[in-house]
Every structure is written in structure tokens, then in C-alpha cells.
């Protein structure tokens, strides 16, 4: 199902204006073990349900934002600036 994402700068926009940036994962510290880096680089939860994810507004303000979305229904619960956290 096609859907709209509310960009914090540009308002409700078609999802096709955005580049999907994957699920939000904490980045390992610079000195982390190889195993942690492999996990960060390759392993994905791939949630069937609500997840927080990165979106890049490629055809708009060209800013990275975060969205909370249900991946089964594509319902977008909220969007926010990357430095903020989900409510």
C-alpha cells in the first residue's frame, strides 16, 4: 500500500519522495569487537510490526528523518527529527 510520510520540514509527502534508510540501530563504539561490527553491518531485526526507521527526504528538503511505522500495514505512527526520540 502506498502511503504518506509527514516530513517535519515539508509536511505530508508521498513515500516515493523518500529513500528508505533501514531500521534504526545503535552504532557500535569505535573500539567495538569485530562481532559487534558484523552485527551492525549485516544483521537485521526486520520487524513484522512497529519499527523505528531512517528516511531521507530525497525529493524534498534532503534531510534525514526518523519514522515509526507498522511494517505489516504501512501505517505511519509518527515522524520526527533524528536527534529526537519517539514519544
Amino acid at each position: 500500500m502506498s502511503f504518506l510520510l509527514r516530513c517535519p520540514h515539508c509536511g505530508d509527502r508521498s513515500v516515493y519522495e523518500f529513500r528508505f534508510g533501514g531500521e534504526v540501530k545503535p552504532r557500535p563504539a569505535p573500539g567495538a569487537s569485530e562481532e559487534e561490527w558484523v552485527n551492525y553491518a549485516y544483521n537485521r531485526t526486520n520487524s513484522a510490526g512497529v519499527q523505528t526507521e531512517w528516511c531521507y527526504h530525497r525529493s524534498g528538503c534532503r534531510q534525514w528523518i526518523k519514522a515509526v511505522r507498522n511494517t505489516r500495514t504501512n501505517e505511519v505512527l509518527e515522524t520526527f527529527y533524528p536527534e529526537e526520540n519517539a514519544r
Binding site: M1, S2, S14, V15, Y16, F18, R19, F20, G22, E23, E35, V38, N39, A41, Y42, N43, R44, T45, N46, A48, E53, T71, R72, T73, N74
Partner: protein, 404 residues
């Protein structure tokens, strides 16, 4: 026709037993083929196939049924070629017509870099004994007279990778044929039986909890394609997969005018005409992760636009249906087949992205060998789950993305 509409059942219903030697989660073409070769080649017949829906309700019934082996990597080509060869013999082997039409497959190049990419594939294919070669507009025009190669195209057709053994198959018939053959060996098929948990004790998968009760398992295979991450998480096994929908559509039936499979990676579209005359058109994957199987208007517009670039005469043709399947995309566009690294008795045949259906028989055959003998056959070794840790990825994107 009496075979299709007669009283002889394709497979029987069973009560769920307390235990099985092998429990296969996902009764699509991969799960069914694995069960079939377990029973036929290794005599393992205490096997249960579980599926949360009806047989072929997942990607086995949603793909565009294209079969080919003109891949790019030396790991991928022999594997897909083994699959095409198994498909060639499948009707005879199963005693069930799977309507495999090896009509030929053309991958178009519209840019210089596209031609260079196809040349690499042609060379690799020929070195590994796959019938595949680069052809140019004159020959393309002769093979596909209905396609527009004239002036004024935004993306002119410069060359094509011609793969004569490629073609299309009746994907439902493959599912039914394998299911029927499994049933005749005493292998149990349990549709509408959803797995809700996998019990792991002392580092080994011991049993599978389903909506119809718990069953003990000597070995568990995850063959759930787009839903692979959800099953894997139940066993605590991390996966590298991201699920994306892939959409396709079918038009009203037309007189036969196209007897080749036409693929264009630049235009993100692939087209073939079925025996019934309908055009089956597929798109690239949706640009975001999702488990939704609903079609979208932007993708339908895109499929129509690009198909009309190739076949402008279709401008008045109506679309009958549009649908989506969930694809389990991996970082390198190659599958993940092997035993889980940290949980014993747990096997995977996942990460089939947009290229799973054509690989079904070979994946089933070698996954069955792996489960039955405990040794990973050489041909599937490159697809091991450990390759991400050891950084030995199989870069198949150039031949696996869009080009079905």
C-alpha cells in the same frame, strides 16, 4: 482435465503427530522440494511441512514464473543451472505437467555500461556451459518483431543477453506436483498451521509450537521466504534479511504476439505473454521494507510506462489484476542456505529475494542432502550463513535485481 477436476486428491489431511524427523516451516516450492528430495533420495519420510496459509499462498504463487540460469557469479551460475536442468525433467519425474515453456529469455541493455555488464555475464555463462550470448538490434528485431526498436526512444535498445533455455513455467503446477509426490511418499502436508514458537534447549532446536499443538523435531528447516526473519527470531538466530514487497500485474488476454521473456533492468520491468494470452508484467521491489502485499498505484503506473516504452502498441490494454509478494532481500542478492551457526538442528533455506522460484528444485535437492547427511554440498557452500562474518559475499546484484 479429469486429472485436474477428478476425485483423486492431490494430498491428504492429517492429524498432527507428536514428533517428526524433519519439520519444514513453509510449504512453498522450497519447502516442498526439500521434502520431496528428502523422501526420494535419502529415504527420510517422517517429514511434516507446515504452512500458515494454503499451499502456494506465499511467493510460490506470486512470482512471475520466470526460469533462467544466466547469472553473473561463478557461484550462482552452476547453482541456477542445476535448477533449470531439474525443471527440464520435472514433468516426467513428478508425472505431472508443470507446463515449462523454454521459450527464450532476453535481458536488454540500454546503456554502454549495461552492455558491458551483459558481456561479463555472457562470458561467465559460456565458460560454465550455460547457453547465453550477446545479441544486437538486428537479431533482437528478428527474435522479437513486436518490440519497438525504432528511433526516438529515451533508452534505445543497444544489445541483449539472449538465453535460449530460459522461459516460463506454471508455478502453481510446480507446487501441486511436488505436494502430490510428497503425499505419495507419506510425507505430511499441514496447511493453515502457523508456527508460533521454536523451543531451543542446550543450543539445539528441539520442538516447534504451532497453532495446532507442539511437535518434536529431529531437524527444523526455515523455508519461509519473506517471513524468514520472524521464524529465525523464534530460534534466536540472527538473519541479514530485509523484506520488501515486489509487485506484478497481469493484463487482459491478447492474441499471441510475444514468445520471449523480455527483461530490462534499466526500465525496471519484465514482460512475458502466457499461454492464455495475458501479459505478465513485473516491477522492481518497492523502495521500502514492508510485509504488506497490497499493490500501489505509483508502481502500476511505472510498470505500464516502461512496458509501453518497449511495446507502445499496448497503450489501450487493460490491467486485470495487480498483486505483491514479500521478498527476503539479502545484502549481496544471493541466498542464505546452511545450518545455523549457533543453534544445532536448525537449518535455513532463505534470503531468496526476487530469485527464489527459479531456484526451488536445486535448493530443495541440496538442502535435503545437507539435512540428511549433515554435510553441506559443495555447490551451496558459497551461500553459507557464515559468509557475512568472513566477508565472502556473493555479488549477484547485477544479474539478480529486476532481471527475472
Amino acid at each position: 482435465m479429469t486429472q485436474l477436476f477428478g476425485n483423486n486428491r492431490m494430498w491428504r489431511s492429517h492429524e498432527l503427530k507428536k514428533s517428526y524427523d524433519v519439520v519444514i516451516i513453509g510449504a512453498g516450492v522450497h519447502g516442498l522440494a526439500t521434502a520431496y528430495y528428502l523422501g526420494k533420495e535419502h529415504g527420510v519420510r517422517r517429514v511434516a511441512l507446515l504452512d500458515k496459509g494454503y499451499l502456494g499462498s506465499g511467493s510460490s504463487g506470486r512470482n512471475t514464473a520466470i526460469i533462467r540460469s544466466n547469472y553473473r557469479t561463478p557461484e550462482g551460475i552452476p547453482f541456477y543451472d542445476a535448477s533449470v536442468k531439474l525443471y527440464e525433467d520435472l514433468s516426467r519425474e513428478l508425472g505431472w505437467n508443470v507446463l515449462f515453456s523454454q521459450c527464450g529469455h532476453l535481458t536488454l541493455a540500454h546503456t554502454d555500461s549495461g552492455v558491458a555488464g551483459l558481456r561479463v555475464r555472457a562470458e561467465n555463462n559460456q565458460l560454465l556451459g550455460v547457453d547465453s550470448r550477446l545479441i544486437y538490434p538486428e537479431e533482437i528485431r528478428r527474435l522479437v518483431p513486436s518490440m519497438y526498436l525504432g528511433a526516438g526512444q529515451r533508452y534505445p535498445i543497444l544489445a541483449a543477453l539472449y538465453h535460449p533455455p530460459g522461459g516460463i513455467i506454471r508455478h502453481d503446477a510446480v507446487v501441486w506436483g511436488y505436494a502430490r509426490a510428497c503425499d505419495r511418499m507419506g510425507i505430511e502436508i499441514h496447511p493453515f498451521t502457523e508456527v508460533t514458537a521454536i523451543r531451543v534447549e542446550n543450543g539445539a532446536a528441539r520442538s516447534v509450537v504451532t497453532t495446532r499443538g507442539e511437535i518434536a523435531a529431529g531437524a527444523v528447516l526455515n523455508a519461509t521466504a519473506g517471513w524468514a526473519s520472524t521464524i529465525s527470531a523464534m530460534a534466536g538466530v540472527p538473519l541479514q534479511i530485509v523484506s520488501h514487497p515486489l509487485q506484478a500485474c497481469v493484463t487482459e488476454p491478447l492474441k499471441p504476439f510475444l514468445d520471449k521473456v523480455i527483461v530490462s533492468a534499466t526500465l525496471h520491468v519484465y514482460v512475458n505473454q502466457t499461454d492464455k494470452g495475458e501479459l505478465v508484467i513485473g516491477a522492481e521491489i518497492d523502495p521500502y521494507q514492508s510485509y504488506s502485499t497490497k499493490g500501489t498505484l505509483p508502481t502500476l503506473e511505472q510498470m505500464a510506462t516502461y512496458t509501453l516504452e518497449l511495446f507502445p502498441q499496448l497503450h489501450g490494454v487493460r490491467v486485470l489484476r495487480q498483486w505483491a509478494g514479500v521478498c527476503d532481500m539479502t545484502p549481496d542478492f544471493a541466498p542464505i542456505i546452511g545450518a545455523a551457526e549457533d543453534v544445532s538442528n536448525f537449518y535455513m533455506d532463505v534470503g531468496w529475494g526476487t530469485y527464489g522460484f527459479k531456484a526451488g528444485p536445486a535448493a530443495g535437492k541440496y538442502t535435503a542432502e545437507m539435512i540428511a547427511t549433515g554435510k553441506t554440498p559443495k555447490i551451496i557452500e558459497p551461500f553459507s550463513p557464515s559468509r557475512f562474518r568472513t566477508a565472502r559475499l556473493v555479488g549477484e546484484k547485477a544479474a539478480a535485481a529486476v532481471s527475472h
